[in-house]
């Protein structure tokens, strides 16, 4: 895709802000390509434009390989983008250097999927949680450091005596609480939660989700909540973005998206989820998509979903559908939405 094409498309697209109206984060035409093999590129995130309001939770859903994690990491500048920009409080984060960048690192944090792999096994919990404090020079003295860590442990529902223990002494749910405490240590405004509950048992998931929601209320946090569990995303998000093969294909208020999905992929995705109620399951007409996800290295021409779409026409192979507002605040990238 040429740079000019990206620009004109982006200019026509003015995404709605979150519920509160004031934007914390604006992503404009963000792309992240990875080189693979000989002269081929994997377009992990392709021309993503969205905004997140202060205090909002934006859910991002999609199947593995759709680019949702890459999007989250690029927005945090864990990856440098191929093109596009992300404005955080109006400043382009990819242009930040030195002390400005270091301040940004305090304001953005991440909660990772695997609570077993994301905590250093050789650090005790005190050091795991205090690492951001040390890096940013937040805790002045050893006493202050201990006080801060105990405060954070209390905030996430753990006890002060846990500080001396090591990650292997905790269950998955407790480790995820430690991960959240660490993310909160430097007092961030924005947290990317990348599949924070998918490694946890069902009865523990609700504990962690309730904790995240409670913290959001108390601390005024803004979340980007990346997950493949659509029921949980519906529960926690104000708005939801659906991604497919690196592209955002639908974006709407959470209840609107689930009640009234416009894109055939979103419709199939929602219908694929089994509901824990046999009565509903017995009556349900499930849309079963044929085939697998195409390779993101060689995505289909035109609409990326057309190879599995039950309604695809010739037009879909020729023209890339615009991401347009099909209804108030409800955006979709489909010719026929």
């Amino acid at each position: 895709m040429s740079a000019s094409a990206v620009k004109t498309k982006g200019a026509a697209f003015q995404p709605v802000a979150g519920a509160s109206g004031e934007k914390l984060l604006e992503v404009r035409n963000l792309s992240k390509f990875f080189p693979v093999g000989s002269n081929e590129t994997l377009k992990a995130v392709n021309d993503l434009t969205l905004s997140i309001g202060k205090g909002e939770t934006l859910g991002v859903v999609g199947e593995s390989g759709c680019g949702k994690s890459t999007a989250g990491r690029t927005i945090m500048r864990l990856y440098e983008p191929t093109s596009g920009e992300t404005l955080f409080n109006g400043r382009n984060i990819y242009k930040m250097r030195g002390s400005e960048l270091k301040t940004l690192r305090r304001e953005m944090a991440m909660v990772f999927q695997d609570p077993y792999a994301s905590l250093n096994p050789r650090f005790n919990i005190m050091d795991v949680i205090a690492e951001p404090l040390d890096i940013h020079g937040i805790a002045g003295s050893a006493k202050e450091r201990r006080r801060k860590v105990e405060e954070l442990l209390d905030l996430v529902g753990l006890r002060p005596e846990h500080a001396a223990r090591y990650p292997h002494e905790f269950s998955g749910g407790q480790r995820q609480r430690v991960g959240i405490a660490r993310a909160l240590a430097a007092n961030p405004k924005f947290i990317v939660c990348d599949e924070p509950i998918s490694a946890l048992d069902v009865s523990i998931q609700a504990q962690v989700v309730n904790l995240l929601q409670d913290l959001q209320k108390r601390l005024g946090l803004t979340y980007m909540f990346i997950a493949h569990d659509l029921s949980m995303v519906k529960h926690i998000s104000d708005r939801v973005a659906v991604m497919y093969l690196g592209k955002m294909i639908e974006l709407a208020e959470s209840s609107e998206l689930y009640a009234n999905p416009k894109h055939p992929y979103t419709q199939a995705l929602l219908s694929a989820i089994p509901i824990p109620d046999p009565l509903i399951e017995a009556q349900k007409e499930r849309i079963v998509l044929s085939g697998d996800l195409p390779s993101p290295i060689h995505p289909p021409s035109g609409c990326p979903f057309r190879t599995r779409c039950p309604f695809a026409t010739e037009k879909c192979a020729k023209e890339v559908p615009d991401f347009r507002e099909v209804k108030d605040g409800h955006w979709a990238a489909c010719h026929y939405a």
Partner: protein, 331 residues
């Protein structure tokens, strides 16, 4: 209906450095011909250990069957020799595992892996086995089976690998298929495909299925009977209609309440089950769920309840609340 599998008072433990981990502590259930039974539970509830004990796949040591029997079509699998088990595995009981990448052999072609069982158990020659394998690949919905036959697992996507696994598991027309979290590693649209496939095949061949899962949605879609496990024990059994409509054990109720529902309007906060599952190195003397139960009474702490009938359609629950002297509790 005939019962093809009956598990009686099964106890399975593992010897560990800290002592004996009692992973399965007195499990009873049966599977009838053509029935799909779900075993539901969290990690550490003993559901996979139960399934692997049926197949005798657990390495011993450290694992050992402490007590109980597993009767499969009249034979007790607990006492079966390794040679007898070899004749049963793959032939009479097929198994599908959670992760199709690690459970297929990466150095063997898919065709080779399907024909292996056919040649060994059905006495087919190479070309007969190949014909049957192609038929199976077609049956599980793998396009272009002739080309796929000679390919390796790494050439297959996750969903395709799971289809190949199903083809292998069904190759010898087993009477019982054990599926251990068959769709957990897959995306939802692929999960829908695999579930549809398993339902179709079950209807076609009348295979009995034991489905092990933590996803209650999958259970509601696929199974007839549900067994809920917690802390190495069965805490509730019943038809899927009863389990979802009127769960009787506080754990089952808690599990259903802690999940957000896609079909209901949002807004209600989730009701988590507080606490964590019991440590099976030193399992509680009383009810295993007692420490997390909102209805826990003194009796629960010191006395383990029995699995008692609680409904008309054979529903059972292991909870003191169903004792005739217990007070009424509003669900």
């Amino acid at each position: 209906m005939d019962t093809i599998l009956r598990v009686n008072d099964l106890h399975v433990s593992f010897r560990a450095r800290g002592g004996e981990v009692q992973a399965v502590r007195g499990v009873n259930f049966e599977v009838k011909k053509g029935e799909a039974v779900a075993i539901v539970g969290e990690s550490g509830s003993g559901k996979s250990v139960t399934a692997q004990s049926i197949m005798r796949l657990l390495p011993s040591p450290p694992s050992f069957v402490k007590q109980g029997s597993i009767e499969f079509m009249g034979r007790n699998l607990v006492d079966a020799t390794e040679a007898e088990m070899e004749a049963i595995r793959g032939k009479e009981i097929g198994m599908i595992f959670q992760d199709p990448m690690t459970s297929l052999n990466p150095t063997m072609t898919i065709g080779h892996q399907i024909t292996e069982g056919l040649i060994k158990h059905q006495g087919m020659n190479r070309s007969e086995a190949r014909e049957r394998a192609l038929e199976l690949l077609r049956l599980v919905g793998i396009p272009n089976p002739e080309a796929r036959f000679g390919q390796y697992p790494h050439n297959f996507s996750g969903g395709m690998r799971q289809r190949a696994m199903i083809a292998i598991a069904l190759s010898c027309n087993p009477a019982l298929l054990i599926a251990d979290e068959p769709t957990t590693a897959l995306d939802v649209t692929i999960q829908a495909q695999i579930m549809q496939l398993m339902k179709d095949l079950q209807q076609k061949f009348g295979t009995s299925i034991i489905l092990i899962t933590h996803d209650l949605g999958v259970v509601a879609d696929m199974c007839d009977k549900v067994i809920v496990m917690y802390g190495g024990q069965v805490v509730e059994t019943g038809t899927k209609w009863d389990i979802f409509a009127k769960p009787q054990h506080p754990y089952t109720r808690g599990l259903l309440r802690s999940m957000p529902r896609l079909d209901l309007p949002k807004g209600e906060p989730l009701v988590p089950i507080d606490g964590t599952p019991p440590d099976l190195l030193a399992p509680p003397v009383g009810c295993a769920f007692c420490a997390r139960c909102e209805h826990a009474m003194e009796v629960c702490l010191n006395h383990d309840p029995e699995l008692v009938p609680v409904g008309e359609n054979g529903q059972t629950a292991k909870c003191w609340l169903h004792h005739p002297l217990a007070k009424e509790v509003q669900a």
